[in-house]
C-alpha cells in the first residue's frame, strides 16, 4: 500500500478546504482528478484520510500549531490517492476560520520539485522511525539539529530557503490558480521560471 509514486504535473493546483474540526469541507476538481477520490468520498471525513499514514507527527503537530497562530502556514506533505499511490506536495495553508464569509482552513498544494523531495522523503522516514522507537521528544530534537545543520531556525524557514524565500514560494504556489479571490498574492522579484531554475540549481551547501 502507498508504494507507488503518482507523478503530478507542476502546473496543477490542488485545493482543499477544512472545517474547524479538521474535517474536509471542499476539494477542487483537480483534487478529485488526481486522487481518484470523489467529493462524496471526502466531504465530512477527517483530513487524515488523504494524508500518508507515515507522515511524521513531529511535522504535523508543528503545522497545526502554526495554523492556529499564523494566518499563513506552509507544509511539505506526502499525500495518497484512492488507488493506494502517493504523491508529494508543497502547500500553503490559510487560516480563514475567523472570517464571516466562507470560513475555513484553505490548503493549496502544488507539485514538489524532486531535488527537494529526495531530502524530505529521507527526513520524514527518519522522523517517523524515531517517533516509533524513541518517541516524539527525541524526534523533535532530531528535527532541530537537522534544521540547524541546514541553517534554518524552523521547518518553514527551511521550506522558504528551498524556494529562495517566502515571496518566491508564494509566487510558486499561486501560479495558475484560477480562484484568485481566495488567495492574495505578493509581488516577487522572480517570475515562475526563475523560481524553478533557482530550485533546480540550488546548492546544497550546509552550515553548522
Amino acid at each position: 500500500m502507498f508504494e507507488i509514486e503518482k507523478i503530478i504535473e507542476p502546473d496543477i493546483t490542488l485545493v482543499c478546504k477544512l472545517n474547524n474540526d479538521g474535517s474536509i469541507g471542499f476539494i477542487n476538481k483537480a483534487y478529485t482528478d488526481i486522487t481518484g477520490f470523489s467529493e462524496k468520498d471526502l466531504t465530512g471525513e477527517s483530513h487524515e484520510i488523504i494524508q500518508h499514514p507515515k507522515m511524521p507527527k513531529t511535522i504535523l503537530e508543528q503545522v497545526w500549531k502554526n495554523i492556529h497562530t499564523n494566518e499563513k502556514s506552509y507544509i511539505i506533505g506526502k499525500n495518497i490517492t484512492k488507488n493506494g499511490e502517493y504523491f508529494w506536495t508543497v502547500a500553503d495553508i490559510t487560516n480563514r476560520l475567523g472570517q464571516s464569509k466562507n470560513p475555513g482552513i484553505f490548503i493549496r498544494k502544488k507539485y514538489l520539485p524532486s531535488n527537494i523531495k529526495d531530502e524530505i522523503a529521507k527526513l520524514y522516514e527518519i522522523l517517523y522511525g524515531i517517533e516509533n522507537s524513541g518517541g516524539m521528544e527525541i524526534a523533535e530534537k532530531y528535527l532541530k539539529g537537522w534544521l540547524e545543520e541546514r541553517n534554518s531556525k524552523s521547518f518553514e524557514e527551511y521550506i522558504f530557503n528551498q524556494f529562495g524565500g517566502e515571496k518566491n514560494l508564494k509566487k510558486y504556489l499561486t501560479t495558475e490558480v484560477n480562484d484568485k479571490e481566495l488567495f492574495s498574492t505578493d509581488p516577487s522579484s522572480m517570475n515562475i521560471d526563475e523560481i524553478m531554475e533557482f530550485v533546480k540549481k540550488k546548492k546544497r551547501r550546509r552550515f553548522w
Binding site: 522511525g129 524515531i130 551547501r205 550546509r206
Partner: protein
C-alpha cells in the same frame, strides 16, 4: 571531504547526527537518537584521553581529539573530532561535534601513544595515565592544543580549514585545497614522536 556531525545534550545523549555519521557508524537514526554517545566508543580508547577531553569541554573550551570509534558491525574508524560546547545562561546545554578522517600515518602514531596510555591505565589506573600524558606535554613545553596541531602537522588555522571543508554541490567535487593540505601535512616533520 565529508564531515561527520553530531549534537548531544550536556550529558552526552545524542540529539542529532548527520547522514555521514550514519553511513560511517552503520547505525540507523532511530537506533542512535536518545542513546549515550559512548555507544560508538571503542575499547582501544584510553579513558585518560576522554577524561582530559571532558574536563576541557565542561569548562566550555572547544576541544580537538583524535578518536578511534566503533561502528555497529564492530569495525573501527579514526577521526579528528572537534567538540564545541554551547552554553545558555552560564550552563552548558549542548555539545556539537564535527569529525574528519585522518591520514593512516597519523593513525599509526596515535595508536602507539594510546597503547602506552592503555598499558598505564591497566597497571596504575586512569590517574597514572593522565598524569603521564600531562607531564609529557609539560616536558615538551606543549599545550594540549599544540599536541593536536603537532600530531596533525597543521597550524591551528589550517586545521580549522580542514574541519570546515565541505562538499559543494556545484561541482560535486572536493574542496581540493583542504584535501591537499592534509595530504601534504603528513610529509612534514613533527617536533617529537611518541
Amino acid at each position: 571531504m565529508r564531515t561527520i556531525m553530531s549534537k548531544t545534550d550536556a550529558k552526552g545523549i545524542i540529539e542529532y547526527a548527520n547522514d555521514y555519521f550514519m553511513e560511517i557508524s552503520g547505525y540507523k537514526e532511530w537506533e542512535l537518537m536518545g542513546q549515550p554517545h559512548n555507544v560508538i566508543r571503542h575499547p582501544d580508547m584510553p579513558k585518560s584521553i576522554f577524561k582530559i577531553l571532558w574536563d576541557r569541554i565542561n569548562q566550555g573550551m572547544p576541544t580537538y581529539a583524535l578518536v578511534k570509534n566503533l561502528a555497529k558491525d564492530g569495525r573501527y574508524y579514526w577521526v579528528i573530532a572537534y567538540f564545541i560546547p554551547v552554553s545558555k545562561e552560564g550552563k552548558i546545554i549542548n555539545h556539537y561535534a564535527k569529525r574528519k578522517a585522518i591520514p593512516d600515518e597519523i593513525k599509526d602514531e596515535i595508536t602507539s601513544l594510546y597503547n602506552m596510555l592503555l598499558e598505564l591505565e591497566k597497571t596504575g589506573g586512569m590517574e597514572a595515565a593522565e598524569a603521564y600524558f600531562l607531564s609529557y606535554l609539560e616536558e615538551q613545553k606543549m599545550s594540549y592544543d599544540e599536541f593536536i596541531f603537532d600530531t596533525m602537522r597543521l597550524s591551528e588555522k589550517e586545521l580549522k580549514k580542514y574541519m570546515d571543508a565541505q562538499i559543494t554541490d556545484e561541482s560535486l567535487g572536493l574542496d581540493m585545497s583542504a584535501e591537499e593540505a592534509i595530504k601534504n601535512s603528513v610529509k612534514k616533520k613533527r617536533r617529537f614522536f611518541w
